[in-house]
Amino acid sequence: MNIINELSWVTGGPQGSGVDTSANIFARACYLAGLHIYGKREYHSNIKGEHSYFTIRVSNKTIRSHLDRIDMLVALDAETIFRHLSYVSKGASIIYDSSLNDKRLEDINTIGDVARRRIETFLKSKNKNSVKDMLDSVRDECSICSIPFNELLSQLAAERGESMLSRLTRVTNIMSVASSLALLDLDVKYIHDAIKSIFKSKTNVIALNIDAANKAYNYTKAKYDISKRFVSKSLDNLILLQGTQAAALGKISAGCRFQTYYPITPATDESEFLESNQIISNIDGTKGSLVVIQTEDEISAITMATGAAIAGARSSTSTSGPGFSLMAEGLSWAGMNEVPVVITLYQRAGPSTGLPTRHEQGDLLFAINAGHGEFPRAVIASGDVEEIYYDTIRAFNYAERYQMPVIHILDKALANSLVTCKVYDTSKIKIDRGLLIDSVNGDYKRFRLSDDGISTRVRLGTENGIFWNTGDEHDEYGHITEDPEMRDIMMEKRMKKLDTMLRDLSNEEKAIFYDNNSDKTIITWGSPKGAILDAISMLDNTFNMLQIKLLQPFPSSYISEVLSNTQMVIDVEMNYSAQLAKLIKLYTNKEVDYRIVKYNGRPISADELYYALSNIINGSKERRVVLRNGV
């Protein structure tokens, strides 16, 4: 038995077979046992049958990313073994059902040619290509636990008087989770509680799953020794949630009361979560509510949200790249009419439909530039699930304070990560509605000129506060003008708000500098934060990290100041062309020294980044490094 601080656990199986549920139960059980979780979900754009898998990294201290390395592999089908076995570490446990032994690579029609060639290379032979052959290749280094899940299932069916075995097949997932917990010597009660938490009021389902879990847990305990045991637990007060839920919670706290969306991966979960929680409890005992509208397209989503914002609601829409493309004209209108509307943009791998369920950060320059003409907007990026909550609230405050559209740019890795983070401090959530006024005296001009470019704003329906909006250039009342002098005045009024914003914001709102007193600084934005911090800590803190949170307006002077004190700048981000490095060059005239990029649709892992950074420390001359790990 090994005493461990952390574990990288992977389960896989055909999409629609319950992989997601079982991974959620494993994560929850470990979370209930007092451990930190970083879960990464990978799935195809498919309803049933294609391979999906879930990586859950478990630790007794804070973790922020996944590892490619697998310490415990749970294979409910042969494909999981074929696809993932090359990543198992020395000493790893492999849980599977030995009835899979004779399955051969060519039997698996969901493995494409390219993946098949990779696996054959791993096996070094085309003739020895069964599950057993695969396992033989690691048998000396790993402990292989064969659990007869199907047999246990038959026993369970007999005990419960269930004649249709097929009704129970989904519980094999839960059994595999129970076996994992048994090998880790975690109390079976954690899986009971996790099952209750996931299946909520479905009492029959809960009873069945608990029976199944007990059966597998006891079988595993009796047959196999404990393989690993966590040395200690975490003492932090943690919550377990996904990025889309963090954004939704942020919207509720921020006072967002109108949300539109058109279904798109990976953004939709957020809107569905909001609709499930649309009645809001206020601390003063009153009730609030949130209207969620599924629109006919994303053009309608942005324009409807904008209409609601004009009426006075805090309003937003959530989408991904293809949907955001359709929103460009509406974004430009919102900028022209100084409407506070928030767009939560969950990037996924493009271009076009791209890899619709996979990860990328390819839309940074697009988010900054989308829409015709020049108008003020803010683009802010969160680096992890904890930040998403607080940044969502900031997005609404910025939108109303500066009366402009705000794009909160996230990505698939953040959206679908299932992680523990510190419980949100909701005691002092600041709401800044800017110059929104409830009553008007005298002549009201919606676009009244001011030193900082910001005018008072009223809700539609405010007495004495009639106003006009138009996408045409307009005067202070909002009526159309084509006068060259008025054009200059209004263009300058609007654009000035960006300077106002840069003046107002603290350095922490612009970028977070993790200062390790190094002369080497990694710059990044968004989700690579986690892998970078984990890799830096694996490298004994030999790098600083600068995480840029405000991408537009770009905080040039603060970024220049930080980078002027560093000898080497390494850009890490998940796109082909190193888009942040381009912005750095544009706004600070600083050329980064190294670009570490990745665009295969799989998030950066801490271990691949560790190797890439080690090579740089060791004097590698390769200035552009492409990371290629992932299944």
């Binding site: 109108f258 329906g461 106003f467 138009t470």
Partner: protein, 322 residues
Amino acid sequence: MVSKRFTIADYKTSVHNDWCPGCGDFGILNSIQMVLTEMQLPNHKVAIFSGIGCSGKTPHYINVNGIHTLHGRVLPYAIGAKLANPNLEVIAVGGDGDGLGIGAGHFVNIGRRNIDLTYIIFDNGVYGLTKGQASPTLKLGIKTKSLPNPNINQNINPIALALVAGFTFIARAYSYDIKHLKDVIRKAIEHKGLAFIDVLQPCPTYNDIYTREWFAGEGNMDPTTMKERSRVYKLEDENYDPIVHEGSKEEINLKMAQAIAKSNEWDNRIPIGVFYKNEHGYIYEERIESRISDYKENPPALQKIESNGISIASIKSILQLL
């Protein structure tokens, strides 16, 4: 306290109107202002949304809230405002190209929602502001002034499209019969649910086929009197009953079939008036109310969300369920 009576001047702005002399849009503008006066609607409680084109300028000439939006997108903007505050009186206006060409998706989909607002299409068969291209309501083979060739596309029938999309009040009016148009607009505003008015509105500059004179009866000889007869006639003069009284499926089918048949009349006899009216279903606001009981009193736009700058929303119970 004596409350002030609004006069038509209260609904006018001083903004210079740059529509062409003789434009049919004027009749619609005047009718809207007359209806607002008749109904004594407080200016600040009304919001007029528009699309792009000559009709898009309408809100600037009316002294109520005016939101001049994007080409084709007037409906989603209007919906957003109405659903954020259902106490607003929301009127949407736009051209036929705006609503039935680039905005056709929204036109069809708003029908699924039966929102309590009024949508008026200024229908003249051409894209005026871009100098006279064929619009979705121009008939096949018609060659208006600036077309290089006769129109190669068939036309959309806006009345029939609104009907199958799910609008619950559907009417047509003629912009030179202001009294009738005004009455139709008022009925539309007073209708509980989604109302659509297709207003025939001659473009004096680019539509030289369907002109004011043509509608008035130019070349349309009445065989008995041997005089020119107006092409436009009123449904109500012919005892046409547009109303769904009982709300049974059979009755709705009959009324819809009748409206479609009427909407296909053109050339020598063009019906105006109310084609269809059905107040039996739930409006969208009521559907929201079934989920959010205080939706009308405490709508999204008016909700209190902070106290002294601190959020009042609690997420504690949601966090406990996570």
